[in-house]
């Protein structure tokens, strides 16, 4: 089983990835997933985290099959 990771907006261009599948190895937090996928240290303050399409945070424990998204401040409306 794996975890689907999505990037949006300017972050998608910085990371140069829109979507990645990573193998799930428990226990795994959103912060650890970010390090694993981006090679960067902590999640920047401006980056928002969503797990299964709901706002979440860096310390959230992930599970098999989760969809995790990282994105910059939203600019709709």
């Amino acid at each position: 089983m794996s975890i689907k990771v999505l990037f949006f907006g300017s972050l998608k261009e910085q990371i140069n990835k829109a979507q990645v599948l990573v193998d799930y190895v428990e226990p795994l937090t959103a912060a650890q997933l970010w390090q694993q996928v981006t090679g960067k240290e902590a999640i920047p303050n401006t980056v928002r985290v969503a797990v299964n399409q709901s706002y979440s945070d860096a310390s959230t424990i992930l599970h098999e099959g989760d969809e995790v998204a990282f994105f910059p401040p939203v600019t709709g409306g």
């Binding site: 949006f8 907006g9 399409q53 709901s54 998204a69 910059p72 600019t75 709709g76």
Partner: protein
């Protein structure tokens, strides 16, 4: 009623409101107060001419988040009906981006709910604007201002 819709093509927000009001559940003589906000794409931003824009969104989360933030606002501002429609995809200046409309028996509540819904949408709905400037360059809008 809470009605939320994303438009991949140009839409007419006044037509959306009219269509909303034609539903069986909508009893026009019950509300009294209808507050509406319509956001339109400008042809300028931060001192530059903007010729086009791509509205990226997180499909799935967008609809869910708009529903959640509406339910949240309604706990504090219990209006009768909420209509939210938002454009996605490639747009040009003067195109409608968003309409938020609320109906209530009370004017104060209608104004407050409409404003709070717009603030919540601007803060939390997962859309990202990618502008095309007159010289052909592109840039991401970095953040929304608080209203």
């Amino acid at each position: 009623m809470i009605q939320i819709k994303l438009h991949p093509h140009a839409f007419d927000p006044l037509q959306s409101i009219q269509t909303f009001q034609q539903q069986a559940e909508f009893r026009a003589a019950a509300y009294g107060a209808n507050a509406i906000f319509i956001g339109t794409m400008r042809d300028f931003n931060q001192g530059d001419d903007i010729v086009a824009m791509h509205l990226e969104h997180y499909a799935g989360m967008t609809e869910r988040q708009l529903q959640d933030l509406t339910e949240q606002v309604l706990t504090q501002y219990p209006v009768d009906h909420v209509l939210i429609e938002h454009r996605v995809g490639d747009i040009v200046p003067a195109d409608a981006i968003v309409v938020v409309a609320v109906w209530s028996a009370h004017r104060k509540l209608a104004f407050a709910a409409c404003r709070e819904l717009m603030e919540a949408l601007k803060r939390d709905a997962p859309f990202w604007k990618h502008e095309v400037l007159a010289d052909g360059s592109r840039r991401w809008v970095e953040h929304n201002t608080a209203g």
